[in-house]
Symmetry: C2
């Protein structure tokens, strides 16, 4: 071990310094056995002096647990999975549980490799997350699993997702409460589950106040700018635009400004995601929906801890989103 730099102090070093046997030192540090308090204290001081740290792997082996959880993600760019991961890590670390990161890069072979490795490490459970809200095929492992953001197609699995329907409806109700009565919807690809859900919720909540059909395109600022041109040709009297993402909403605001339309005086605009780099940099800053992904990660971790403790909660859990109001609807 010398090659690894200064070696870790061992229990035998602690025992030698305290002048006791190894088994006495072990009992003193584990608060077991019958020892005089003075002896226990001497061993504790020796351990402290040497910087001795007990080997938690022994505890893990004897308890049948590794105090480790695996996180499988397909989201290399991390826009959605990073806050989920940080929330999960926060909740797990409070219980001395470690989080092993496994980035599959959307490669099924890589996912299989990670699952074998995690099972072989005897992790106590696995969190599965991804970048899309489409349900995904469940993983086949004999340990507890919770799906976050990308739910499992199996309804008896435990999945935690954001309430996209409620989130989109909340922006429309906000626009209606401000007196807007000609609301258009511009969103991402119609093939995306999240774009479909948000569009359906918008249509339902806007009812008679909806202008035209939901407009689907890319998740990009460019599409937001282009969609404004199309929209104003057919519906020049629109007074609000609810967008499927902050990127689209930012493009919408930029184009409206270029065309001399004031946001929100002429047209109120809402985004979706509360992605600060878009929502705050937008001119004006965006009223938007926060998916509360870090909280989603915490809830996921706590559900997994319950399952590990033998009390699984099965089914799909939808967490509430939060409407964040800013100048794009309220003005200055």
């Amino acid at each position: 071990m010398a090659s690894r730099g200064p070696s870790l102090p061992r229990i035998t070093d602690v025992a030698a310094l305290a002048g006791v046997s190894t088994s006495t030192a072990s009992k003193a540090l584990n608060d077991t056995g019958q020892l005089r308090e003075e002896t226990r204290e001497r061993v504790r001081r020796a351990a402290e002096q040497l910087g001795f740290t007990p080997d938690s792997r022994g505890r893990a082996l004897s308890s049948g647990r590794s105090f480790t959880v695996g996180l499988i993600t397909t989201d290399s760019s991390g826009r959605f999975s990073i806050p989920i991961m940080l929330g999960a890590e926060d909740a797990l670390s409070a219980g001395e549980m470690g989080l092993l990161l496994c980035d599959t890069r959307d490669d099924p072979l890589r996912e299989q490799h990670y699952l074998r490795s995690l099972v072989s490490r005897r992790v106590d459970g696995i969190i599965v997350t991804g970048r899309r809200t489409e349900p995904r095929a469940p993983i086949d492992v004999p340990i507890p699993v919770v799906y976050a953001f990308s739910p499992s197609t199996d309804p008896s699995d435990t999945s935690v997702i954001a309430d996209d329907h409620g989130g989109a409806a909340s922006t429309v109700r906000h626009l209606l409460s401000l007196g807007r009565r000609r609301i258009a919807h511009i969103s991402g690809p119609v093939s995306h589950h999240s774009a479909q859900t948000r569009a359906a919720a918008t249509v339902e909540a806007a009812a008679g106040a909806l202008v035209g059909e939901p407009m689907h395109g890319e998740w990009s600022e460019r599409w937001g700018r282009h969609a404004v041109d199309v929209l104003l040709r057919t519906s020049p009297d629109v007074d609000a635009i609810s967008c499927g993402s902050d990127q689209i909403a930012r493009g919408v605001c930029d184009r409206l400004r270029e065309l001399g339309r004031s946001v929100p005086d002429d047209i109120a605009v809402t985004g979706y995601d509360n992605w600060s780099v878009m929502a705050l940099a937008s001119r004006p800053p965006l009223t938007t929906v926060d998916l509360e992904l870090e909280e989603l990660g915490r809830r996921t971790a706590n559900l997994l801890l319950d399952a590990i403790a033998g009390s699984p909660h099965r089914g799909l859990m939808e967490l509430p989103t939060r409407l964040v109001t800013r100048e794009s609807t309220l003005g200055t």
Copy 2:
């Protein structure tokens, strides 16, 4: 274990199905001992049929290694540490090493807690990273450590950083090669190491072509827009602006367009970071510097693996950056 769902098949189950003793099954699966090939094959088939996965923790304990590395990050938002982490994870997983994520949220007490936990788990080494390029105080653990992006203040530690000086110089050389001779520099806070380094490199590389002093402000689009107004009052004949970040450069491009100045025909603009959501969404898309952070993560992991294997490389290693050219300097 019943409470944890279906329990993992054990070596005893494999032995029973194959009709051999547990020790024979173990020898067969570990390719040790003297067994007939037929017996070995029967055990392998039984293991496969049951989905038996060997417990890697035994190997870890007997080898004195945990095949696990801890990653300490202070970068909750993850802009810089996420690609480093993914690169490290990629390099480590190839060697069956797991990466334990520890997000300290810039809290020194939390960092201490994580360090104790990682040492107690007997991780084989630790990667320390952060959001700033300022050198940071080293951590005190008796196992190999490599610092990534945020180097250690101790020059005998192993640190891997991006060559910010070379990166900034490469944008100026590019502008000079395009015939630009009146180059201004707009960057982030003068208190930030990265802003200082990039400004110094720009001043040196631009020499007589530099217009005025480097301008320092926020890392924001808003500052980029404001700085353009200030700059054009004092130096209306500037023909290039090198920026300390893509966010600043995007704001610069927006303001120039609003003022009727063409990018790059009138004024060429360069960014820094190659942050796609800024660099590609900018109008026009930005020529910028890619810090190659994922590669930096891979190199960090490989240096750590060398140190774990007993061959540490000490000192500061600067990795080359990559100039990415786009319309903001080249035009369409």
